[in-house]
């Protein structure tokens, strides 16, 4: 299965949200990274056929998704960034309703709903009204509804928002187990989530793809730009103003270890270290210190 965007453009008035985007996605987990306004949500909506592109098209195995219609949506699972719910519905009602929308038969739906309620740890709350749910519980319910039809294309916009660390781990395991022979696209601000799950990273800025590839490959792009150095703690704050600091760790001896992104050695005792995805993110979205 191959999902492709061809010269995809989306404009809102004079603002270009997606700018001549050409990407090809085959089976695998893709992590979508980018600052707010980079175009991640718009791209996901275009891939889901709930926004019309200004020009260009999205194709699945060469066929325009607009023409595929129901056939395409039958393969799709989507968790929006902010989704509404019916406050007077129970979790069970809501999932059964979405299952009906997705064309599942009643028996099949009941089985799948029970399975997913267990997977997202909402079994005990299945008969509770959604209006009594916490943010994390609603988010888990959202994840469950997206997976009801065993989608071949699963698109998750900020799936870990509102989840506590234990729930995030559970979510990562769920996606890892689910992702075989499927296209899974997830966007998040929590870089570590993407680092754990995603096989490929799509880094976006101003509606364009900055980097696309395996985490090791794209982080290699900034080899030589990431440094660690130890400074007295009382001077650390001054450095945060002048350097692009990706991490700051206090030691017991009144010293602080700074992780700096810079194109040259930021201070004498600074040593080059292996870049991570977070460093790459900051490299692109905070800029390189030229000190």
């Amino acid at each position: 299965m191959e999902l492709r965007t061809n010269e995809l453009i989306k404009r809102y008035g004079s603002k270009t949200a997606i700018d001549h985007l050409n990407i090809t996605l085959s089976n695998g987990v893709y992590g979508l990274l980018g600052a707010n306004g980079a175009g991640k949500t718009t791209l996901m909506r275009l891939l889901c056929d709930i926004q019309m592109p200004t020009s260009g098209k999205v194709t699945l195995d060469g066929k325009n998704i607009l023409e595929l219609g129901e056939k395409y949506r039958a393969l799709l699972g989507y968790l929006p960034q902010n989704f509404g719910y019916y406050p007077d519905f129970t979790a069970m009602d809501f999932l059964m309703y979405v299952a009906a929308l997705k064309g599942l038969g009643e028996r099949q739906a009941k089985k799948k709903v029970a399975e997913l309620l267990e997977a997202v740890d909402l079994e005990k709350e299945s008969r509770h009204k959604i209006k009594t749910f916490s943010g994390g519980m609603k988010q888990r319910l959202g994840i469950a509804q997206a997976m009801l039809n065993n989608p071949h294309i699963l698109i998750l916009d900020e799936p870990t928002a509102g989840l506590d660390p234990k729930e995030r781990v559970r979510f990562r395991n769920l996606i890892s187990a689910f992702s075989k022979d499927r296209i899974v696209i997830l966007s998040t601000h929590i870089v570590s989530d993407v680092e754990f799950i995603a096989e490929e990273i799509i880094m976006m800025k101003s509606g364009q793809v900055l980097q696309f590839g395996k985490p090791q490959k794209i982080t290699a792009e900034i080899d030589g730009y990431v440094w660690e150095c130890t400074v007295p703690s009382n001077r650390a704050e001054r450095y945060t103003e002048t350097l692009n600091i990706s991490n700051l760790r206090n030691l017991e001896n009144n010293n602080t270890v700074l992780r700096v992104i810079a194109d040259r050695q930021p201070m004498e005792n600074a040593m080059q270290v292996r870049p991570t995805l977070e460093d790459l993110y900051l490299f692109y979205f905070k800029g390189v210190s030229k000190e």
Partner: protein
Amino acid sequence: MKNLIKFELQKIMIKRLTLVSITSVLLLSFILSFATFQNMYAFDGKSNEGSGRTAVEIDKSIAEKYAGVLTDEKMHQIMADFKPTHDLHGMNAQYLYQNAMQSAAFARFSDMNGNWNGLSVSDVFGVEEIKIGYVNGWLNTSQNMARVFIALSLVIILIIAPVFSGEYGGVDNIILTSKYGKTKCATAKIIASVLSALLVTILIIVFHLALAFIFYDTEGLDSSILFAPQEFVEGYIPFNITCGTVLKYQLILALSSAISLTGITLILSAICKSQMIAFAVSAAVHLTPIMLPIPETSPLYRMIVLMPLYHLQYISIMSVEQMKSGMLYAIWAIPMAIILITFGAVISRRIFAKHQIS
């Protein structure tokens, strides 16, 4: 599809606002019916008088005495039986009310002083055969229903307005990306809306008829509305039809109004991004026709009375002259309802399917 319709019905009906508004209309219906029943007054012209149940019994026994086709003899008899025996102090005897039969006769055959005005039955009603009887119960029920139906129409708008617009608050993302979100789901919403509107209307109708049966029983269904007491505007419908026929038309018109209104509201629900706006605009569209200064003689009036509000205010649409076939013009409300719901279904479905998430 059946499953989707069931869920859409559930979404409409389990809302607290829906339940509260339906309960309010039921309560209003009970208060109106009970107050009307309690406030009824009748005097048999001799010694017996009373209100509430007593008044109903007095009116019924008088109606029984004169029941049948209205003749000049009967008319004179009624005039004589209830001739005012006291000084009216300048009051017009046509407006005198002792009981239903007396009021109906004096409104048409009395002069100011309560004497016969010289008109015969054929002078007033032409060649029509006027069957007289106890009409108060059904006509009161009919009047109360007409009042309640206005509130009911707003309840229908209130429950249908969020059908599409309510989804734009965030569930649209999920619906429109699901297999049937742009197709069967919209159809299920439309079917559920029509069913909800009809169910609520039928519930209110049944409630009114049950109250009417308890308060007045079934007498008078075959009596002509033309020989109604002064206070009933049903008497202005210029056709010799029975209470039963009026009731039948009124109920059909209530259902056609519910369907028409659903069609209009569905379109606005699909267009408006907020349920409050959808409700306000639908209510405005619904209520506007009655404020338009269109005289009954204008050809435009015939069009205006086909709007759902006039189906509820059935006197207007039923007063338009009969068609050549002898059928009442009001029958046009049915094709109008079919047209409006068809438009509503097609347009709202299309708008929802094309909706862009923002």
